[in-house]
């Protein structure tokens, strides 16, 4: 147990930060926020799953994927299909020309449930698919590309086009997928009303616990030999290859792992928000997820999750007040993060020496560093926690 703890957290400060964050999410926010706002926080946290994946994939292994929305979407759509089938029992849909199939199929003159929808009548299969489908798709794509040494900008462009293809594919097959409107009007999970206040609390807590588990899994990877190999691949690919590692396999694995947890995030998104549509998984959201990670800190698991909360909170607040300016603000934030603090907020915080765990001293130092303009142009990626 102690060994596991030591593997997960290198310093006591880090463990405290995680503890504090958990306290905030599990106790303070649920007490302080009305259920509507808490549900929003839960929604932001589902992007945290993608961000944690990006920390491993982009921050650690140096693979920038601009298509993580695809995997978020795959997981989300699996869950949405299950919920939609449950919401489309013959009695509720008696008014349709073909009762018992989802409403959008009926509108598109489908008279039979498509074959690939059938397995999603089963919850165990759906849960299995939420994990395995994104992981398998990512592994196949990743394996094919990494074997051919596709990387860097080319990988980013290809994954971005994947996001476009995926969202267009869903858009264009309205009868099978619900098209641009997405899959909406989801009500119950095995008879349990997911729209009730009670359910929203429970789903929020489930989301926090799962995110925390995933974050710990990511930290475990970072602090084992695999984590060091990931960084080594990022910095000295050839040396790793000539030390006898199968670089393509390790990259494909980490891409697949990131996809799997993104899929889980997507499924939790659907449960909390109650719908899934192409607008949540295309190019723009895929890039937004990268921005959340960059702002929070692409090397830090906790930082990336915080980034999701902060940017999304900012998005909600500012887009309500200044709808026209919001996008510029978001772009500006991203550019300044890349230019001035490439390791994000977490990188800024780590610069503060924490020899004494004295919050006042820490706060005073933070003020000091915040008031002096950033002088260095770019710091090389250092490898903390």
């Amino acid at each position: 147990m102690q060994l596991l703890f030591k593997t997960l957290f290198k310093t006591r400060g880090e463990a405290l930060a995680f503890g504090g964050f958990l306290l905030l999410l599990l106790v303070i926010l649920p007490l302080a926020l009305p259920v509507f706002r808490l549900n929003l926080v839960g929604k932001y946290l589902t992007f945290g799953f993608v961000a944690v994946g990006l920390v491993l994939l982009w921050g650690r292994c140096g693979i920038l994927s601009l298509g993580q929305g695809v995997f978020f979407g795959l997981g989300g759509y699996c869950m949405a299909m299950f919920l939609k089938l449950e919401a489309s029992d013959p009695i509720t849909t008696a008014i349709q020309s073909t009762p018992g199939i989802p409403d959008f199929m009926d509108w598109n003159q489908l008279t039979k449930l498509p074959l690939f929808w059938e397995p999603f009548k089963s919850l165990p299969f759906t849960i299995f698919a939420v994990f395995i489908l994104p992981a398998a798709v990512a592994f196949i794509i990743g394996w094919a590309m990494f074997r051919r040494r596709v990387g860097g900008v080319y990988f980013a462009i290809i994954t971005q086009s994947l996001a476009l293809i995926f969202s267009l594919g869903i858009d264009g097959n309205q009868g099978f997928t619900g098209g641009r409107n997405g899959i909406t009007d989801l009500r119950t999970l095995c008879g349990w009303d997911i729209r009730s206040e009670n359910a929203q609390y429970i789903l929020y807590f489930a989301c926090v616990v799962l995110l925390f588990t995933v974050a710990m899994g990511a930290k475990y990877i970072i602090n084992t030999r695999l984590g060091r190999v990931l960084v080594a691949i990022r910095d000295r690919e050839d040396r790793v290859r000539f030390s006898g590692y199968d670089v393509a396999m390790i990259r494909a694995f980490i891409f697949s792992f990131a996809a799997m947890i993104s899929g889980l995030g997507g499924a939790l998104f659907v449960l909390q928000v109650g719908f899934m549509s192409p607008s949540i998984i295309g190019i723009v959201p895929s890039i937004e997820m990268v921005i959340f990670t960059a702002v929070g800190g692409r090397l830090s698991v906790l930082g990336a999750i915080l980034g999701c909360l902060i940017v999304n909170f900012g998005k909600t607040t500012f887009s309500e007040a200044y709808p026209d300016l919001w996008l510029y603000l978001m772009g500006g934030t991203f550019i300044s993060v890349v230019m001035f603090f490439p390791n994000g907020l977490a990188g800024l915080i780590e610069k503060i020496p924490t020899s004494k765990e004295n919050y006042q001293a820490l706060f005073a130092r933070f003020k000091k560093t915040a008031s002096t303009p950033p002088t260095q142009k770019s710091t090389p990626i250092t490898d903390e926690h």
Binding site: R225, V231, A232, R239, S243, G244, D246
Partner: protein, 248 residues
């Protein structure tokens, strides 16, 4: 074939052409066990390309590369490494953000698959091996130093140490003493003599004094082909070699 020193590596008719340009052509090379075999030649002779071909970084277009009788041509790099061939690059290629110890540990052959990496534990024997290698390369007191702040010579040694961790049967060193001081060169020569007791070494080098010190056998390359081969005395007195290489 010499009975005391059987060949571990047999390269025959090796060739590679880049868009019609033959960088290496009809190259024959036999590496005897526990020998230090040096390849010399003017710039652009194809020396580094030969190493690239043997370790799989560049794919050969002709010929064969047999390691202990097994064909290596066409194998993936990591398989060639796992078979027992280690390679050092011309510029020191180490993990600058990791400590010397971590650099060595990462090169240890246990757990090179995904699962193996996740299950990897720093056992006492692995720790001991890292310390032994560090002692061999003269970095015992720098184990906890970040590799990026080592001197140039120490970085070169560290990379040799990383190869030793893999315990390969063949070590290929591309210009190991480039940029080293005279004293560091002598130390490197001693190191290479020492490591060749248990394994065979291929070295690419320009420094003739250094070559004289370490070489059991020398191959001179010119324009992708072999110009001469034999002991250092023999090749340094060869008129062709003097004309294209040493004389200049």
């Amino acid at each position: 074939m010499n009975i005391d020193h059987p060949n571990v590596l047999e390269v025959e008719d090796l060739g590679v052409s880049f868009d019609g340009f033959k960088a290496v052509d009809g190259f024959n090379f036999y590496l005897a066990q526990n020998h230090v075999h040096v390849i010399i030649g003017p710039n652009g002779a194809g020396k580094t390309t030969v190493l690239d071909l043997i370790c799989g970084k560049t794919l050969a277009t002709a010929g064969s590369i047999k390691f202990k009788g097994k064909e290596l041509r066409g194998s993936r790099e990591y398989r060639i490494v796992r078979a027992g061939i280690g390679r050092k690059f011309q510029n020191p290629s180490i993990y600058e953000n990791l400590t010397v110890f971590e650099n060595l540990e990462l090169s240890h052959p246990t757990g090179r698959g995904v699962i193996g990496c996740l299950m990897f534990r720093r056992t006492a024997s692995i720790k001991q091996q890292c310390e032994d290698v560090a002692a061999q390369i003269g970095l015992s007191d720098r184990l906890d130093t970040e590799a990026g702040i080592l001197s140039h010579g120490q970085k070169q040694w560290l990379e040799i140490g990383m190869l030793l961790m893999q315990d390969p049967e063949i070590i290929m060193l591309d210009e190991p003493v480039a940029g080293m001081s005279v004293r560091e060169r002598t130390q490197t020569a001693t190191l290479i003599r020492k490591i060749s007791k248990d394994r065979s070494v291929i070295v690419i080098e320009h420094d003739m004094e250094f070559v004289r010190e370490i070489a059991d056998r020398v191959t001179v390359m010119h324009l992708g082909k072999i110009l001469a081969e034999g002991s250092m005395e023999k090749v340094s007195n060869d008129p062709k070699v003097i004309e294209v290489y040493i004389g200049h």
